[in-house]
């Protein structure tokens, strides 16, 4: 399958610390690809490089034929990449609906004059945007909560609203940063099903950072393991579960021989 995004030799340093080191990564189109690794392995830093929050010192990231290394995050979003955040970052004092409307920003065209004069084009566009926002609310099961301020929503709703906001830009690639963090097993299971649906029904490629190994092993087609900014393994869930380097990274040197099975069961971090 062709890859939708390709990273070559991506390196990101913070002073003396190399957070991401010569990372090569290919994400196949319409796949669910997880990036795992212990805390501080450089997973979120890599996400930030892809989405334009950071600019890598070395290397290239090519998405859909476009180089992303030097682009600002707004232009990367316009190309079709959306993301969520490890610690939820909604627009707290806007309503759920307004959050989704902001998410549609790159797809809309309405300018200032159109807004002041309420030209027919702007009115139509706004009506469509509002309908789309309602549809997305329904898609993430938040119908009826659209007029609540984002900060007043319960935690699980906020997680899903953040995904709805990301979907509003109609991305081809969606980066989810620990989508099940802080959820109970039941919620986690539902979120897993939801992520699968995003790919199956909307055809979106999913790139996932996740610490819950049940989630990772359950939905990923491919897994990349990072440790100290380097990719130490890549493969299918079964490959990864039996990879001695992965077990070593998670549990420490010497553990590989003793507890080969435990990685798959215990959430790391």
């Amino acid at each position: 399958m062709p890859s939708i995004i390709t990273a070559r030799q991506v390196t990101k340093r913070f002073g003396g610390l190399t957070a991401v080191s010569s990372l090569d990564l290919d994400i196949a189109e319409k796949s669910i690809h997880s990036v795992i690794g212990p805390n501080g392995a450089g997973k979120t830093t890599f996400f930030n490089c892809v989405t334009g929050f950071y600019q890598p010192e070395i290397g290239e990231i090519i998405f859909d034929g476009h180089h992303l290394e030097r682009l600002t995050s707004d232009r990367i979003t316009a190309l079709g990449i959306a993301r969520t955040y490890q610690n939820i970052r909604l627009f707290n004092n806007l309503t759920a609906l307004e959050n989704i409307l902001v998410g549609q920003h790159p797809r809309l065209k309405g300018g200032m004059l159109g807004a002041i004069l309420r030209t027919p084009g702007t009115v139509r566009e706004e009506a469509e945007a509002l309908n789309e926002a309602r549809r997305l609310l329904a898609f993430v099961n938040l119908t009826g909560k659209g007029d609540q301020l984002a900060k007043n929503l319960p935690y699980g709703d906020q997680r899903r609203l953040e995904i709805a906001r990301a979907l509003a830009s109609r991305p081809k690639l969606l980066l989810l940063d620990e989508p099940t963090a802080g959820m109970n097993p039941h919620e986690t299971e539902e979120m897993t099903g939801f992520i699968r649906r995003l790919r199956d029904e909307l055809g979106i490629t999913i790139m996932l950072i996740e610490h819950d190994m049940r989630v990772v092993m359950g939905i990923s087609e491919r897994i990349s393991v990072l440790d100290y900014g380097e990719k130490i393994a890549e493969g299918s869930p079964t490959d990864i579960q039996s990879n001695p380097r992965v077990i070593e990274a998670y549990l420490g040197r010497g553990s590989a021989a003793e507890v080969p099975e435990s990685v798959s069961a215990s959430p790391a971090g």
Binding site: D74, I76, V102, A115, G156
Partner: protein, 576 residues
């Protein structure tokens, strides 16, 4: 609270002490004496006494609410105790002023102050009166706390209105002379120096009763309004807006020249406030140099329209002598241009850094206006005189009552633009920027364009305000454009409610209108500002009229089916 401990007397005494210190402070800085020139209720209570009463009343209220959970009598008693302690502090003042002669330190610790505090009685009797009054007022404060929440709200609101109308009675009566019939009908409400007793009672009953009834029944009225078909509802909204506009158009005839002038000052602040509301309230860009655009609007208007051209003092060497209407778009355009130019260097700055740099811009513009270098062109410290006035045919915008219409139209335009932008795509981009700049950018929002658009729009309103100001005053001097203007406009937005359009009006009325109406107390203006801002931040940080969240999810076409559409598919978290 630990049930075993006996009643918290110390808490009540502590709060009483705080209330007493506040009362002492307002007495010693001379506010009580100064404010005693005005009566709230004629012959009953002066404004100065009101200040002390408010301090003690609040002490009683807080002491009682700290005793929450105790029996009502205990709460009333702790209110009384706090009031007693507060007034005891004041009696201390009464006792030590005569022997110690504090006037070298506190010039306002005068015999007149003692007379006010002792109700013009002998010292011993006066002290007794003071203590009793303190205890009674404290008890009343406690009783306010005991009242059920809704009644308390109504009572406090009614007291506020009695105070406000008493304060403004002179203006109200001046206004009423322009409407003789209404004035005669309402004559009984006013005494010689404030509200009459029946007037005060009537105001209290009307406000308290009206508020209580609205709280009880208002919901039904609103529900009935919401139940109207959308077309009818929109029609009645437009109807209401038209009535308000009609009243506002008729207003200068009722107000007379002086009050129209006050309205104009408020209007110019509203205009500037609407602009800064876009920059700070919508886009969250803290701009402390907002006066720069006001000054640019004013100076461009001045230079382009002045007739005082020549080599003499007070004249500038060059001026095209445009008419007001030719100069107005140029003035606004220049403000927009500078809005963008000053916006570019601060694109990467946030929060405090942005505030400091914009503060600098404001000062740079003022110092440039003062400089000898630019003196031949913009007049330096001698300013520009003979600024042109707008005219349409024979109608000249020269007097306060005619200028009112120009300012009114400008405000209407600015409100319209702000209102349309608020829920539009650019408006949402501003609000996203305010909430989280990084995430906003990651949502595909172009930070450069969005920020510059906010700066430009804000500068346009401010420039318009400045241009009209120049024409209104007729002459402009650099000292009109100091930092205090920026701070005033920012404070009115904070007090009204960040990002709220009605809040701008409320803020401008409070911060620009009230000081004009209470000119004799001008020396306490900044003190009151500070106190007001602190109280606001503690009790109502969202402002007097905060921005409402807009209900847009259940729109007509969606809700018309009755129930919202059923969920298309089962999604995570649905069965929480």
């Amino acid at each position: 609270m630990n049930k075993k401990t006996s009643f918290n007397w110390l808490g009540a005494i502590q709060i009483g002490l705080i209330g007493g210190v506040v009362a002492l402070l307002v007495s010693l800085i001379g506010m009580v004496e100064e404010f005693s020139q005005r009566d709230i209720i004629s012959g009953v209570i002066t404004m100065g006494q009101t200040l002390i009463v408010i301090a003690i009343l609040m002490a009683g209220y807080f002491a009682a609410s700290r005793a929450a959970g105790e029996a009502a009598t205990m709460r009333a008693i702790s209110g009384a105790l706090a009031g007693l302690v507060a007034s005891a502090l004041l009696t201390g003042l009464v006792v030590i002023i005569p022997p110690l002669n504090l006037r070298s330190i506190f010039p306002n610790a005068s015999p007149a102050l003692i007379n006010i505090l002792t109700f013009n009685q002998e010292t011993v009797v006066g002290i007794l009166y003071l203590l009793i009054t303190g205890a009674v007022v404290g008890t009343l404060g406690g009783l306010i706390d005991i009242l059920p929440a809704q009644i308390r709200r109504s009572v406090v609101l009614a007291l506020f209105w009695v105070g406000l109308l008493g304060l403004l009675q002179e203006l109200i009566r001046v206004t009423l002379t322009n409407m003789p019939q209404v004035g005669a009908a309402l004559k009984w409400m006013f005494g010689s120096r404030g509200l009459s007793i029946p007037g005060a009672v009537a105001v209290f009953i009307v406000v308290a009763g009206g508020n209580y009834l609205w709280a009880a029944r208002g919901g039904q009225v609103q529900d009935r309004f919401r139940a109207l078909p959308p077309t009818q509802r929109r029609a009645s909204q437009w109807g209401g807006a038209l009535v308000v506009i009609a009243v506002l158009l008729y207003l200068p005839r009722i107000l007379g020249p002086y009050l129209s002038e006050v309205a104009n000052i408020v209007g110019l602040f509203i205009l500037a406030g609407l602009g800064l509301n876009i920059v700070v309230g919508f886009a969250g860009l803290l701009d402390l140099g907002y006066v720069a655009f006001y000054a640019i609007g004013a100076y461009v208007m001045g230079v382009l329209t002045t007739n005082a051209i020549g080599q003499n003092a007070g004249q500038i060497v060059f001026g095209p002598e445009f008419s007001f209407w030719q100069a107005l778009p140029i003035a606004v355009g220049a403000a927009v241009l500078f809005g963008v130019l000053l916006g570019i260097p601060v694109l990467k700055m946030r929060g405090d850094y942005l505030a400091i740099v914009t503060l600098g811009f404001g000062e740079i513009i003022r110092i440039l206006a003062l400089s000898d270098f630019l003196k031949p062109y913009i007049g330096g410290s001698q300013g520009i005189v003979e600024v042109g006035q707008g005219e349409i045919g024979n109608f000249v915008f020269g007097t306060p009552q005619t200028l009112y219409y120009m300012i009114f139209a400008a405000c209407l335009l600015a409100v319209f633009i702000s209102w349309r932008l608020r829920d539009s795509r650019p408006g949402r981009a501003w609000k996203a920027l305010r909430e989280d700049e990084d995430v906003a950018q990651a949502m595909g929002i172009n930070l450069v364009a969005t920020k510059l658009l906010a700066f430009a729009t804000g500068a346009a309103f401010s420039g318009l305000s400045g241009a009209i100001f120049a024409s209104k005053v007729g002459s402009i001097y650099p000292h009109s454009f100091n930092l205090l203007f920026s701070i005033n406009v920012l404070a009115l937005i904070i007090i009204g409610g960040m990002g709220s359009l009605p809040g701008v009006f409320v803020g401008a009325l409070i911060l620009a209108g009230l000081p004009e109406l209470l000119r004799e107390f001008a020396e306490y203006r900044l003190l009151m500002y500070g106190a007001l801002l602190i109280v606001m931040m503690l009790t109502r940080p969202e402002g007097f009229w905060p921005e409402a969240t807009h209900r847009r999810e259940l729109h007509e076409e969606f809700g018309a089916e009755g129930e919202p559409r059923a969920e298309i598919v089962k999604t995570p978290g649905g069965a929480r």
